[in-house]
């Protein structure tokens, strides 16, 4: 039988996808619910809409940590 | 740059030569009533102002012996000082009211002016002088709005015949207008007793890419004005408007005012003559005898 689920389609580059999956795994290790509902392909994921905001914020932080920066002139 | 932001400046030059209008009023075929023409002109001017909040306006009367700004009024004009006397009624838009009042009262002043009654001024109209004022005013508005582009044009309502002595100033004005890409539109009345063919004005509109229109039916003036002369310059690429193909670029000779095909031009002062002579009457140069 055909199944229809509501969620959020997430499109991103493969690198970001790895980070997202890593976050998902960490969440599961911590005993929380996974938010990736379906791994569609290289660049697409289907995720839980409730976690979108949290994910965006988290991802922003991680990307920020990995950004090279020089100190702006004070 | 979008043309929606441009400031549109319309300078209207109205021929108010009393003799010509008197003749026109008594024309058997197409009598012209000055008051009615001015009424229609005022509606047209209000229409121009209503198109955009920023639209600018100048009206100049080209009278028999002078040119006179009808709007805007010169600063510190007595009319301005007595501002609060006739308070604006609630059913008129302030801008329209100011323009109408200024034009009407200034015109009255002109008509009552006794000086113009003398015979020597008959049938003269200071179109060149009015153009010079209009261009100076346009120049001022352009300078005052250096950051915005100002689209300017001039509309001449003309009834008097050309004044040969004004040929050079008229042409100077035309070239000055061309330099700042100001179009000169001409709305010309002609009947049996007035108007007649003008040589200067078609050249003015041709050189500046303006519109020249002979009004065949003066009672419908307003429709002609709204159809042909209301669209601002930026609209001329969009709307189909009348244009005159054949423009007479022949010159009139300085000696007899005949229109010539082939003429003789003084190499020093460029005066045009219809026949050979020994001495140039304009610059007094003596020519060598033709070999």
């Amino acid at each position: 039988m055909v199944k229809a689920r509501k969620g959020t389609l997430l499109e991103c580059d493969p690198a970001v996808k790895q980070i997202v999956q890593d976050l998902d795994n960490k969440k599961s290790e911590a005993g929380e619910k996974r938010f990736i509902l379906e791994d569609l392909d290289e660049t697409h994921l289907f995720i839980d809409p409730c976690e979108v905001e949290w994910l965006q914020k988290r991802l922003d932080e991680i990307l920020e940590e990995n950004t090279y920066r020089f100190d702006d002139v004070a | 740059m979008s043309c929606a932001e441009d400031i549109n400046l319309l300078a209207v030059v109205v021929d108010t030569n009393p003799a010509a209008w008197a003749a026109a009023a008594s024309d058997p075929d197409r009598p012209l009533d000055f008051v009615k023409i001015i009424e229609q002109l005022l509606i047209f001017i209000n229409a121009h102002l209503s198109l955009k909040f920023d639209n600018e306006l100048a009206i100049i009367a080209s009278h028999a012996d002078q040119s006179q700004f009808l709007y805007p009024l010169p600063p510190a004009d007595p009319l301005d000082a007595a501002d609060d006397e006739p308070s604006k009624p609630a059913n008129v838009y302030k801008q329209f009211f100011d323009v109408d009042r200024a034009v009407v009262s200034k015109l009255k002043e002109l008509v009552d002016d006794k000086r113009t009654k003398s015979a020597e001024h008959e049938n003269r109209s200071m179109v060149a002088g009015s153009l010079a004022l209009a261009l100076s005013y346009i120049n001022r508005i352009k300078r005052a709005n250096e950051n915005n582009s100002v689209q300017s044009r001039i509309l001449i309502l003309s009834i008097s015949p050309d004044l040969p002595s004004q040929y050079i100033p008229t042409m100077n004005c035309i070239f000055a207008a061309q330099k700042v890409s100001t179009r000169i539109d001409v709305c010309r009345f002609s009947g049996r007793k007035y108007g007649g063919e003008s040589v200067f004005l078609p050249q003015a509109s041709h050189i500046t890419a303006g519109i020249y229109l002979d009004i065949p039916e003066p009672s419908n003036l307003l429709q002609y004005l709204l159809y042909t002369f209301l669209p601002e310059p930026s609209m001329r690429k969009t709307l189909l408007l009348p244009h005159k193909d054949q423009v007479d670029f022949r010159a009139a000779c300085f000696c007899h005012k005949n229109v010539v095909d082939v003429g003789y031009v003084c190499s020093v002062c460029l005066s045009i003559f219809c026949s050979l002579s020994k001495k140039c009457p304009t610059c007094q140069t003596v020519f060598p005898a033709p070999k």
Partner: protein, 468 residues
């Protein structure tokens, strides 16, 4: 580059959209006021204005074919757009192949032009013999009031918090209550939070801000305050035609209109010397309301640009207004403040902070451009290209995720059914992602309903077919 023109267009469009949503009868009532006719005309695109002028003194209907040849062939499309706009605003009506101008509009616009008719739509002026109110005072009043509103929006502590302003800011979604609290009548001074929409609002041009609030007010007036929308609109269009510095009488106004005036006073649109005064003064904000392009191309002296941005991302702003500095600090890391200027750096962090608040790079660029110093405006483009590009890049690097609400269809038993649905949904633009091998399909939220009903129909047909 004319970003302010685009902004102006945006406002014009939103007013037009609002007007178009009104029923026909409302228009007939609206056009009974010449001032409204004049203001509506100024909202129209240039070709439409010319069409109106040409038809104004034509009594008989005009054949559409005749109107079409007014334009050069390559501009016919623009003409069609204009004509449809005219008919949506009920200025012109189509009768089959003919165009007929709305009689009421025709008559009253003519009245506006010649100053005829028995109406007071251009305001009843009053003599101000005492001469206490001059334009400078009005400008100051308008600027102060509006700044108070904006301060209230950003949440600067202050004591003047008129209810009308609070209500409108809330209704337009520029502010909201913090989640924990709730609205309570007793605590009016309760702190409200600015929303991301509010931040965006701050960066708009003043005229645009005024109009977007006024449109909210119109909505509010109709739904909650039970006001006659025609009277409100007529009043708004009327004040756009008044003259700055002139006193006008309150007498001809209706009760509704007086209430509107009362409400809008806090926004600096009017000035009244005392609350019970018989006259009111429109401020520059009022008189430029219907200035054609809405954003008057000529601004008063004091609202000239003050920002200079250099290619090295340094920003200098010649201002001492706490509000402007507060707005700038949204996306600039300010470094030093002098008596008449502040300096700062446009940094990645500052821009990122702004982006997290929901402000977009376009809004930042528009704001900087609109308020650029006249010296800077002489250049083209006005802002250094490097800065524009970098701000855009900073925005893009944040958006590495593209999210869209979706419904995921999976576990199709039958490839046929899958392709059937794909074929149905694809032309609708509803398919976000599909994989034939896995027989999985993601459709948009909007498309979901259609797809659902299509599946039902298909299932019914199949069932019917099978049953037969």
């Amino acid at each position: 580059m004319s970003s302010s023109a685009e902004v102006a267009k945006g406002v014009t469009n939103s007013i037009q959209e609002y007007l178009q949503s009104l029923p026909r009868q409302t228009f007939d009532q609206l056009y009974a006021q010449p001032a409204t006719c004049l203001a509506t005309l100024r909202l129209l695109p240039p070709i439409a204005k010319q069409v109106v002028m040409r038809l104004l003194y034509t009594q008989k209907p005009v054949a559409k074919a005749d109107v079409e040849v007014w334009c050069f062939p390559d501009h016919r499309g623009d003409l069609q757009d204009s004509l449809s706009k005219l008919s949506r605003l009920h200025i012109c009506t189509d009768y089959e192949e003919h165009l007929q101008m709305n009689r009421i509009f025709q008559e009253n616009f003519h009245n506006a032009l010649v100053g005829g008719g028995d109406h007071v739509s251009f305001g009843q002026p009053m003599n101000d013999n005492k001469g206490e109110v001059d334009i400078a005072l009005l400008d100051r009043h308008a600027a102060e009031s509006w700044e108070t509103v904006l301060h209230q929006l950003v949440g600067t502590p202050g004591d003047r918090r008129p209810k009308a302003v609070t209500k409108l800011l809330l209704a337009s979604g520029l502010q909201e209550f913090p989640d924990d609290g709730g609205y309570s009548e007793t605590n009016e001074h309760q702190k409200m939070n600015i929303t991301s929409k509010g931040f965006q609002f701050l960066l708009l041009d003043v005229n645009v801000q005024v109009w977007s609030l006024l449109l909210q007010y119109l909505g509010l007036a109709e739904r909650q305050l039970n006001m006659d929308i025609v009277q409100v609109l007529n009043f708004l269009f009327q004040i756009g035609s008044l003259e700055l510095g002139q006193a006008y009488s309150v007498e001809p106004l209706t009760d509704t209109q007086r209430r509107v005036m009362e409400d809008l006073k806090y926004f600096g649109i009017f000035y009244q010397r005392t609350k019970k005064s018989r006259k009111f003064y429109p401020t520059r904000m009022a008189t430029s309301l219907t200035s054609g392009s809405m954003v008057s191309s000529r601004k008063p002296e004091d609202s000239q640009g003050y920002i200079i941005v250099e290619t090295n991302f340094r920003m200098y702003a010649y201002t001492d207004s706490p509000l402007q500095i507060a707005i700038l600090s949204l996306f600039v890391s300010l470094q030093a403040r002098f008596q008449n200027m502040v300096t700062g750096l446009i940094t990645r962090d500052a821009i990122r902070e702004a982006l997290t608040k929901g402000i977009t790079s376009d809004q930042i660029i528009t704001y900087l451009t609109a308020h650029a110093h006249p010296e800077l405006k002489k250049q083209s483009p006005i802002l250094p290209q490097t800065v524009i590009d970098q701000i855009r890049l900073w925005e893009m690097e944040r958006n590495r995720l593209r999210l869209s609400g979706a419904w995921l269809y999976s576990d199709f038993t039958d490839l046929n059914e899958f392709t059937q649905i794909v074929n149905y949904a694809e032309p609708l633009g509803a398919v976000l992602w599909k994989n034939e091998k896995r027989r999985t399909l993601a459709v948009t939220e909007e498309g979901h309903e259609n797809v659902k009903s299509f599946r039902k129909r298909a299932a019914a047909a199949r069932a019917g077919g099978a049953g037969r």
